[in-house]
């Protein structure tokens, strides 16, 4: 029975982590946007406004739950739960440190890819259930966008998987540092198996993966409906898109899902391309920086730092770039990113055969 207890604790832990991250993320987003636009952001509640999001969530919980008269009641009520659970289940297969992973499944990345696509269904549910023009338009835009951008993201992921030869995220992470069991070469010529650090990360092991990483990052912005790909909730056209009609705790769930999704896609990017929980510091001669900074606590620290850095870049992009038009969005996906991703996949195959 004890093992089942551990499962429950892990599940609750992941949930509270994503809730905590959403609180922190909203605050960070406000402060970063304020900095970029030369404002102050929240200042009143708590020191530097740090309790602002807590106050927001308290307000959110107390609000009345309104169901529009003409809405499809069941779809409307279940939609936020489906959206959030789809993202939350993705967290199950992410490795945090050497030997620390909630669920060690050998299909890791494929499973996450599958479970994230369920979110589309939740968004369509919300759009249709609300029985509102704006909601349904937002939902359809969102679905079209997510389905399209899954293709370049998928091929960017495949080009990593071809180099790593495994779908297990823990194994992918293991290969990118000093704990690797096989021979790791920097850019295909310099053996860095014992050196580790920055040089054994996937983007430096095979430099074409830098392009794949950029493709993946752009596609992941689109998949989490973030600006400049936020046409599903374009305020100036669609009020708030698919979550126009949601109030109170349901709206909070949609928001929670968005921020969890940001963290999830960033963490997948970190694990696949940026060395997962491995340290960026290499072993230099007798100074074993990499060996000193590898371990359980260090792993959690590194992966969190890298992921938070990527999340910060996502926020930076949101407050810097203007929104894409629908046709520009599709052009970028099908005419630029997809061919490039295909090229990356081809290079990966050649690289694996001749240079590794």
């Amino acid at each position: 029975m004890n093992t089942y207890l551990i499962y429950f604790i892990v599940a609750i832990g992941l949930f509270s982590f994503s809730a905590f991250f959403a609180l922190f993320g909203v605050y960070a987003e406000r402060k970063i946007s304020a900095f970029i636009q030369d404002r102050l952001g929240p200042t009143e509640t708590g020191k530097f406004g740090s309790l602002q999001t807590l106050a927001d969530i308290l307000k959110m919980i107390q609000k009345e739950l309104i169901i529009p008269a003409a809405a499809d009641k069941w779809l409307f009520m279940l939609a936020p739960a489906v959206i959030f659970i789809a993202v939350y289940m993705g967290f199950a297969a992410l490795p945090w440190a050497p030997g620390l992973i909630p669920s060690k499944i050998n299909l890791g990345i494929y499973y996450i890819f599958a479970i994230i696509s369920v979110e589309t269904l939740g968004i369509l549910m919300a759009g249709w259930g609300s029985n509102n023009k704006y909601s349904i338009l937002g939902a359809m835009r969102s679905a079209a966008q997510i389905i399209s951008y899954e293709i370049p993201a998928g091929f960017a992921i495949i080009s990593v998987v071809m180099i790593a030869q495994t779908l297990n995220l823990q194994d992918v992470a293991m290969q990118q540092g000093i704990l690797a069991t096989e021979k790791i070469k920097f850019a295909g010529f310099w053996d860095v198996s014992g050196i580790g650090g920055l040089f054994s990360w996937n983007i430096f092991r095979a430099p074409h993966l830098i392009i794949a990483f950029v493709i993946y990052f752009i596609a992941s912005l689109a998949e989490s409906n973030r600006a400049p790909f936020d046409i599903p909730e374009a305020e100036s056209e669609l009020v708030a898109g698919f979550h126009t009609e949601f109030t109170g705790i349901r709206f909070a769930l949609v928001f929670l899902a968005e921020y969890s999704m940001m963290f999830l896609v960033s963490m997948i990017g970190v694990i696949l391309f940026l060395g997962a929980w491995n340290t960026p510091l290499p072993n230099i001669g007798p100074v074993h920086l990499a060996t000193w900074t590898t371990g359980m606590a260090w792993g959690i620290l590194w992966v969190s730092l890298k992921t938070l850095a990527l999340v910060a870049v996502q926020m930076w992009i949101r407050w810097t770039l203007p929104r894409f038009r629908v046709d520009q969005l599709m052009d970028l996906c099908w005419k630029v990113l997809t061919p490039l991703a295909f090229a990356c996949m081809l290079i990966s195959g050649v690289w694996r055969l001749w240079l590794m």
Partner: protein, 182 residues
């Protein structure tokens, strides 16, 4: 009862109930969403059968692809068209529905026959595999096996399917193209 068995019956129960609802509901959009539950519990059953790759593929293709496309078709067609589709005239049993009923009953007879004649508990090839220790355990990594088999033993069907998909793709591109001026 072991946990495995409880899970099996639980998932099959959900699959059957949701499938019945999807088939009988008059609200078409809702029945699509319930169909999603059916597909998900089927994926769960695949996992119980140690076919985790099939389970994940099921979710990717059916939930992420096909269901969303069906919903798209629905949402593009508007409420009036849907209302005509949803209006079911006449009684439950009528002359018009005879072919459908016939087909369903015949298929049901075939399935029942398979279930009773197959004798799934001691199929010869299953017994052979168990005696030769040539079976899958929950710890095995099946993806290498699947990849190698697709590229060797099942290469012809694999390529045939890819050509079929290519044909569909070209057809779709042709249909959606604007008419030329000529």
């Amino acid at each position: 009862m072991t946990l495995l068995r409880v899970l099996f019956y639980f998932l099959s129960f959900i699959a059957i109930v949701s499938a019945l609802y999807a088939a009988s509901s008059k609200n078409l959009v809702r029945s699509i969403f319930v169909f999603f539950v059916t597909l998900f519990s089927l994926a769960g059953l695949y996992v119980l059968a140690l076919a985790d790759f099939v389970a994940v593929t099921q979710v990717v293709i059916y939930v992420g692809g096909i269901l969303v496309l069906i919903l798209f078709a629905f949402m593009l067609s508007g409420k009036e068209t849907l209302n005509v589709l949803q209006k079911q005239e006449g009684k439950f049993l009528s002359m018009k529905k005879l072919p459908a009923i016939l087909l369903a009953v015949l298929f049901f007879v075939v399935l029942i026959n398979v279930v009773f004649k197959a004798n799934a508990d001691n199929l010869p090839w299953v017994r052979d595999a168990i005696s030769l220790k040539n079976e899958i355990t929950p710890k095995d990594i099946m993806i290498d096996n699947i990849g190698v088999n697709l590229m060797t033993r099942y290469l012809l069907p694999f390529e045939a399917i890819s050509i079929l998909l290519l044909v569909a793709l070209v057809g779709a591109a042709h249909l959606s193209r604007k008419e030329g001026k000529a």
